[in-house]
Amino acid sequence: MTSRPAPWLSRLYLAAVAGLALTGMAQMPIFKRYYIADIPGLGWLADYYLTNKLHYGLAALLLAVLGYALARWLKDWRRRWRLTALGRARVLLLAGLAVSGGLRVLKNRPDWSFDPLTVLLVDWIHLGLAALLGLAALAAVLARCSAFVRPRD
């Protein structure tokens, strides 16, 4: 038995989250300022519209992964696996990111609008949750328990 219920899903999750972190940071005007976009091949990081679209695409991938994991968890995985403490924390952070990101997606549509204070708070919450997820992931790696789950005894 491996340490994860579906290693391929973990790899997809990691790819999506790493891409989201990169394209999410690219929404801030830092890659050009700090010469990172000057590195050959990384000029696209300074293109706000391109990185925003990539962020959407990667968010769709992550949401599909989360949807699949949720279905499998409810269907069978929960009988053989249990969430670790850091796993639970990251699940909550991911849920918050999905909700706040979803609100941002709605806000960007022409048929939805939110008042400026709501927009401000949703943006800050999304940014804050992303930072916390990064810290939780770092803590999990340092504690050598990066898997969200462990086998039930």
Binding site: A6, L63, K75
Partner: protein, 325 residues
């Protein structure tokens, strides 16, 4: 809750607001949502055939909005890395032939030949207050927002001056002043560079039921303001009746500023003196069109994932469920 220029964001206020934000995240999104471009949004109509370029609107804007103008702290923080340059207009406040942090409206003039005659057209230029504004949508810090009445505003208490709004605006309207704003209290040398400024359509007057200063100051009645659907109908009728041309109705997916000109806008655009602070008049595709389409992907993706997991569509033999072969 309207944002006001004179409101400071205290720590207590921030925490209280954050609590509200948490509730917002929990509440159904529709509870605070409303459609963009609705009747609640105000739009302006500018009949360019009436504008003589007298500058009364510019003077009224500068005078009335002066209390909102930045008073930067000098010397400016030394930026790291040096690539980030300060943008300082505080010693050039008199400049009124382009957009600056101290000049939110200016008159652009174009001399063109049309139907065998030389025609000079004067165009009051400022933020068009897009229906789906990329500046507000893409600000990573939530400093720009769109009010229910269609006014797109930058919150000068929150803005860090990264100038992304200027980069993503199809007309590059917002202008930066260094040495002012929240960034001075965070990491002034390493992040942010001031505050972005642009037309706020005299939100304070509009909130009291009055008209923006540029509208009331015009001696020739160039501008009028009213509910978007009504103003759009009037703009189209004016263009139809006078054989004129319309700009702003479709640009960037639609704006809340409609210019009607006796001369085609591509001719005006070709004749304009364009550059930083001097926007173009070219046609503009919807900047957010791709995001609008991609929104469906983010909506459908979790459903697809749930369905695949429920139906066991992506099982991978012995590797699935933690079992090695």
């Amino acid at each position: 809750m309207p944002l006001t220029t004179n409101t400071t964001l205290s720590r207590r206020g921030f925490l209280r607001a954050l609590g509200l934000g948490g509730l917002t995240a929990l509440a159904p999104a529709a509870a605070q949502a409303r459609p963009k471009g609705s009747e609640a949004e105000l739009a302006t109509l500018l009949d360019l055939s009436k504008c003589v370029g007298c500058g009364a609107c510019v003077a009224a804007c500068r005078e009335g909005n002066a209390p909102k103008f930045p008073e930067p702290v000098k010397p400016f923080p030394t930026m790291v890395p040096a690539r980030s340059k300060p943008e300082d207009w505080s010693d050039k406040r008199e400049v009124d032939d382009r957009l600056t942090p101290y000049n939110w409206l200016f008159i652009q003039s174009a001399e063109v030949e049309w139907k065998g005659e030389k025609v000079t057209v004067h165009i009051p230029r400022r933020c068009l207050h897009c229906v789906n504004p990329p500046c507000a949508n893409l600000c990573p810090w939530g400093a720009a927002g769109k009010q229910e009445n269609g006014i797109v505003r930058i919150n000068d208490q929150v803005c860090l001056g990264g100038a992304k709004c200027r980069d993503v605006c199809p007309w590059h309207i917002p202008q930066r002043q260094t040495g002012v704003g929240l960034y001075l209290k965070l990491l002034p040398r390493f992040g942010g560079n001031g505050v972005m400024y642009k037309c706020d359509r005299c939100f304070d007057l509009v909130a009291r039921g009055q008209e923006p200063r540029c509208v009331t100051a015009c001696p020739f009645g160039v501008q009028s303001i009213g509910p978007r659907p009504e103003m759009l109908e009037r703009a189209r009728a004016l263009a139809r009746d006078t054989g004129g041309f319309l700009y702003g109705a479709e640009e960037n997916g639609g704006t809340n500023t409609f210019y009607v000109s006796p001369v085609p806008f591509d001719l005006l655009d070709a004749a304009l003196d364009k550059g930083p602070g001097r926007p173009h008049l070219a046609s503009v595709a919807d900047s957010m069109a791709d995001e609008t389409n991609l929104a469906w992907a983010t909506l459908l993706a979790p459903v697809a994932g749930l369905a695949a997991g429920t139906l066991g569509l992506i099982a991978r033999g012995g590797k699935e469920d933690g079992h090695d072969k």
